[in-house]
């Protein structure tokens, strides 16, 4: 076995141990999870080293025969995988450490760490998979764990519901993914990513296959129109939100598109679809985030928005830009969620309208939160700035003015709502009775570490730059994007700190829009009316149909026979005259029949 094989195996081992004997391990279950995660990280580093020495892929052997051909499972190692491995294991480690503090008095402490280990294992496996089938196995594993973790506090009905919603919604995308995969297989005869360079087949079919595969990414990365599960997923414990949003679940979708990039790149229509869906999601989610009042939901919508931006980046042809943003986003979004978790842990509420002035009470959290927010807002020199800038640049250079405008508008909105969040939560006066206190070190240390990366990761540059040859940075673009970010910050400052009258009244004047945004464009409601209710009615209807018509027919046949029996037995009157009459008639009829009269 190669060292890369151990990467997902360690967390999986932790899962197995924790699920069966975790209860007895108590706090040890957490150490186990953290330890295996660190081991995975170390292995990832080793794989990186191996990669630099020229190792590329490792086979695991044949899984099964399809159409008489063996389907080999194996591991792919390239910059994309290594980046993902490092991010996942690194951020995962800190989220796990943080969780020790966050979950310390939860009755299902060990269970939590079991699930999260499985989550890590699935995600690590996913990025290592060298073909669609193996990827799908881990892909579904990720979805499953998200279900378990979102519904972790299942005593709350909303949590249980959110878990189901997440799994079912992503499954819709996965079905498209599966079909696309099959389409690709039957057109080109391969499930393997490494064969993408040599794909040959009818253009429209491959375009369709690519779009269907993208459907899987839409589901996992919570892009419009399958984004509805993500905000609800906030019902899970906050570190889980951090994990889902930063490094694992939602990143999987972007990773998939990046992984299949050669396929998309060869088919402009597919690429266009990715960009447009990304753009819609980015803008839509950003606008919703502007008015939302739940600290976690604002971050959730910002995730959808940022993922949309990544998709947009990929869609306009910027493989390196998209993945770069995926990386920087992982750091600052994990940081933001963990900070939010720390705040919620401290104050016990999530509504930002009731917070305020927390800066003085929670210094570490607040500073790191601000760093994260600035990174997300795209203020230089924080990480988000660099990657976002690259996306904007790619969009512009590849002649997508509309998408460029969308991306620009999104960054404006992003900086605005992040500033709003910061101002409402950390500054100003407390708007309700809050007994806030700083979180324990086990929680704050990960914050500090992550904040360092959120601040500085941008300087690393896109890990795929060499491979793909991205555009050189342009001063004009940097200036423009900085201006946009600062404008957003400034606006928020004016409205929420200075409480200026003009923008306030401006806001008041568009109440209709605000309602629309507060209700998330009514998309959940529309789905409820257009999809969920009719389907439930259909199910009920099918059941009635089954009972009344299908089974009714069966019973009907039986009843008709019984009825005939009831009628025919009347012929047996018991009167000999009748019997004799029947007999004579019988004879006459027989004769008539035989003589054909």
């Amino acid at each position: 076995m190669h060292i890369a094989h151990y990467i997902p195996l360690f967390p999986f081992l932790a899962f197995v141990i924790n699920i069966f004997v975790g209860r007895r391990l108590k706090i040890g279950s957490a150490y186990l999870a953290v330890g295996t995660c660190v081991l995975s990280f170390l292995c990832s580093l080793k794989v990186w080293q191996g990669f630099l020495q020229g190792e590329r892929s490792y086979s695991l052997g044949t899984w099964l025969l399809i159409q008489g051909k063996p389907l080999d499972f194996g591991i792919i190692v390239d910059p994309l995988t290594i980046m993902m491995l490092l991010i996942v294991s690194f951020i995962g480690t800190f989220i796990l450490i943080y969780s020790i503090g966050y979950m310390h008095d939860d009755p299902r402490f060990s269970r939590y760490f079991a699930y999260i280990s499985l989550f890590m294992a699935s995600m690590l496996g996913l990025v290592l998979a060298d073909n669609f089938i193996l990827l799908l196995i881990f892909w579904e594993g990720v979805g499953l764990c998200s279900y378990f973790l979102i519904a972790f506090w299942h005593e709350r009905p909303a949590a249980a519901k959110a878990g189901i919603k997440a799994f079912v919604t992503t499954r819709i995308g996965d079905t498209g993914f599966l079909v696309g995969m099959l389409l690709l297989f039957f057109t080109t005869g391969t499930f393997h990513f490494s064969d993408f360079q040599f794909l040959r087949g009818p253009e429209p079919v491959l375009t369709l296959a690519a779009i269907l595969i993208f459907a899987g990414a839409i589901g996992k990365s919570a892009q419009f129109p399958l984004h509805v599960w993500l905000p609800d997923a906030m019902e899970g414990p906050t570190p889980i939100s951090a994990l889902i949003h930063a490094a694992t679940m939602v990143a999987a979708g972007v990773y998939l598109v990046a992984r299949c990039f050669p396929l998309f790149a060869a088919h402009p229509a597919a690429l266009q679809t990715v960009a447009v869906i990304g753009g819609i999601s980015a803008l839509m989610a950003a606008t919703i985030a502007v008015v939302n009042n739940d600290i976690k939901r604002v971050l959730a919508y910002s995730t959808i928005s940022q993922l949309g931006l990544m998709m947009l980046g990929l869609g306009v042809g910027g493989l390196s830009a998209g993945t770069f943003h995926l990386m920087t986003h992982a750091f600052f979004k994990a940081l933001l969620f963990l900070c939010a978790g720390s705040i919620i842990h401290a104050v016990g509420i999530q509504d930002i309208r009731q917070m305020g002035g927390l800066f003085s009470k929670m210094k570490v959290t607040s500073v790191t939160f601000c760093i994260g927010a600035l990174a997300l807002a795209g203020v230089p020199p924080f990480a988000g700035f660099w990657s976002k800038d690259e996306i904007l640049l790619t969009a512009w250079n590849n002649h997508h003015p509309v998408l460029f405008a969308v991306a620009l508008l999104t960054s404006l909105l992003t900086s605005f709502y992040m500033a709003r969040l910061i101002f409402l939560v950390l500054f100003g006066k407390p708007r309700s009775e809050l007994h806030a206190h700083e979180s324990p070190a086990v929680m704050t240390i990960p914050l500090v570490v992550l904040s360092v990366f959120a601040a500085l990761a941008g300087f690393i540059g896109s890990p795929l730059k060499e491979a793909t040859g991205a555009y050189e940075g342009s001063q004009v673009m940097m200036l423009a994007s900085t201006m946009v970010s600062l404008t957003g910050l400034g606006l928020a400052y004016l409205i929420y700190i200075r409480q200026m009258a003009l923008p306030q009244s401006l806001l008041m004047s568009c109440q209709g829009l605000k309602q629309l945004l507060l209700n998330k464009y009514y998309i959940d409601e529309i789905y409820e009316v257009v999809l969920v209710k009719p389907i439930l009615r259909l199910c009920q209807g099918s059941f009635s149909f089954d009972m009344k018509i299908v089974d009714g027919l069966v019973n009907g046949v039986a009843n008709v026979t019984q009825f005939c029996s009831g009628v025919l037995r009347r012929t047996q009157t018991g009167l000999v005259q009748n019997y004799l009459l029947v007999q004579v008639f019988g004879v006459v009829l027989l004769i008539m029949w035989l003589l054909k009269i």
Partner: protein, 468 residues
């Protein structure tokens, strides 16, 4: 010497007379059933020797072919089983039982004569004897109003049937100047006869035989008779005269030449369809087990007719096999009615826990009647349907198998009551009857036949085959 052909019958006559005389004395009366059984057994032993003979015997009145040999055996076995059944029936035990066994033996003799007859007059005489004894036996329970009524109905109905038949016979005599069946067959082949009259007379003959086989629409008296008669007699009526009827149908109709055969086949096909369907459907709602079995036996007559409709060698073999199995299935079912003395389906509730043996035999018999593998009834149905398919009677075959599904439903009703029902109806098994051990023996025998012949039919029926 052709007289040796009649040795079994003569032996039976001897025993019958012995039984009759024995019944005079109270001391000997106890032994009459045993004597009757011994007589039947003896006759059975004599049969193989008696069958080694030329074809036409006894002034060309009787035929000594495989068909007669088979049916004589069958009748002897059936009668013996009925004697055993009667030994367990308290109603008969209470009455003057000597003459009862005398009637059974004479019935057996006349049926044996009938199945070997090749002359219409002989057939008629034998048939009439059978009828008269049947009327007596049906109405045997003098105190029982139902029994007497059933006897009377059976008599009136039977009288009309045989009357019609006699008319047919006389017409045939007018046409051919002979009553010898082979001669008539040859005549049909050679000469120009007036066809409509021939058909007319044949239908009249058919009516008489159809009554014995209880084919629709000549079945009307059967349910009433079966229900009213003492149970062993119901059993006897369902096997003896029916077997005889089919033997004669074989003789009368298959002797005729090809153009007519097709016609008979079509006729038999439709009669079979009507008979099995009507019998089964009416049986669905019956609550009296004897009546239910009566309708079931009507339905089975339809199946047997199906084998006849196939008019091929497999069909004839199938019919014989079916009849043989049918005797055991039906005796098994009726025997359980005798054993439990329960006539209503509802009374069978919980029988499996009270009398597992009775319930077991009943279930096996009923499932065999329903034609479920691996019981003998399945093999019987299998060969019959095979014959029909071989003759390309697909419609008939389809209707037949669907009928077997309907039939299963009412057989299941009894099984359901015995096994599935949680309630229990009180009641004594009539183990008090002195000779009930014979009844148990008969039931065990039917059980074995029903199971073993299903597993290995050709062990006992080496001639059974699907001929190409």
């Amino acid at each position: 010497m052709t007289i040796q052909f009649l040795f079994p019958e003569l032996l039976l006559v001897f025993f019958a007379v012995a039984v009759l005389f024995g019944s005079v004395s109270n001391f000997f009366k106890k032994f009459t059933p045993v004597v009757a059984a011994l007589g039947l057994l003896g006759a059975l032993l004599l049969l193989p020797a008696a069958s080694q003979s030329s074809t036409a015997v006894f002034f060309h009145l009787l035929e000594a072919d495989t068909i007669s040999a088979f049916f004589r055996t069958l009748i002897l076995i059936g009668s013996a089983l009925i004697v055993f059944l009667s030994m367990g029936e308290p109603q008969i035990q209470e009455q003057d039982r000597g003459e009862f066994y005398f009637f059974i033996l004479t019935l057996a003799i006349s049926m044996m004569i009938a199945v070997s007859s090749r002359n219409l007059l002989m057939i008629y005489i034998a048939l009439e004897t059978v009828s008269i004894i049947s009327y007596i036996l049906v109405g045997y329970l003098k105190q029982d109003a139902f029994s007497s009524e059933a006897g009377l109905k059976y008599f009136l109905f039977g009288a009309l049937s045989t009357g019609i038949m006699l008319y047919g016979i006389s017409l045939l005599y007018g046409l051919f100047g002979t009553l010898d069946l082979p001669t008539m067959a040859a005549a049909v082949k050679q000469e120009h006869i007036y066809f409509p009259i021939f058909i007319l007379s044949m239908v009249f003959v058919l009516a008489g035989l159809a009554f014995k086989c209880s084919l629709v629409p000549f079945h009307m008296a059967a349910p009433d008779a079966y229900q009213g008669a003492p149970t062993p007699i119901s059993a006897f009526l369902s096997i003896g005269p029916k077997a005889m009827g089919f033997a004669l149908l074989l003789r009368v109709f298959l002797g005729t030449p090809t153009p007519l055969i097709a016609k008979w086949s079509a006729l038999a096909q439709w009669l079979a369809i009507i008979t099995m369907t009507l019998g089964n459907i009416i049986a669905l709602k019956q609550t009296n087990v004897k009546r239910l079995l009566a309708y079931s036996s009507i339905a089975h007559a339809g199946f047997m007719l199906m084998a006849l409709a196939a008019v091929n060698a497999s069909g004839i073999k199938a019919l014989l096999f079916y009849l043989f199995i049918y005797v055991f299935m039906n005796v098994g079912a009726f025997g359980c009615v005798v054993l439990t003395q329960r006539q209503e389906v509802a009374q069978y509730a919980g029988l499996s826990r009270q009398y597992p043996f009775a319930a077991f035999v009943m279930s096996i018999s009923l499932l065999s009647l329903a034609g479920l593998p691996p019981l003998a009834g399945f093999m019987a149905k299998f060969v019959v349907i095979a014959a029909a398919i071989q003759a390309k009677l697909y419609l008939l075959a389809i209707i037949a198998v669907l009928n077997s599904v309907i039939a299963l439903f009412y057989y299941l009703r009894i099984i359901k009551a015995m096994y599935l029902s949680k309630t229990e109806i009180g009641g004594q098994l009539n183990s008090t009857v002195p000779h009930s051990r014979a009844l148990i023996l008969a039931l065990t025998l039917t059980l074995l036949v029903n199971i073993l012949l299903g597993l290995w039919p050709q062990g006992l029926m080496p001639w059974l085959s699907l001929s190409p």
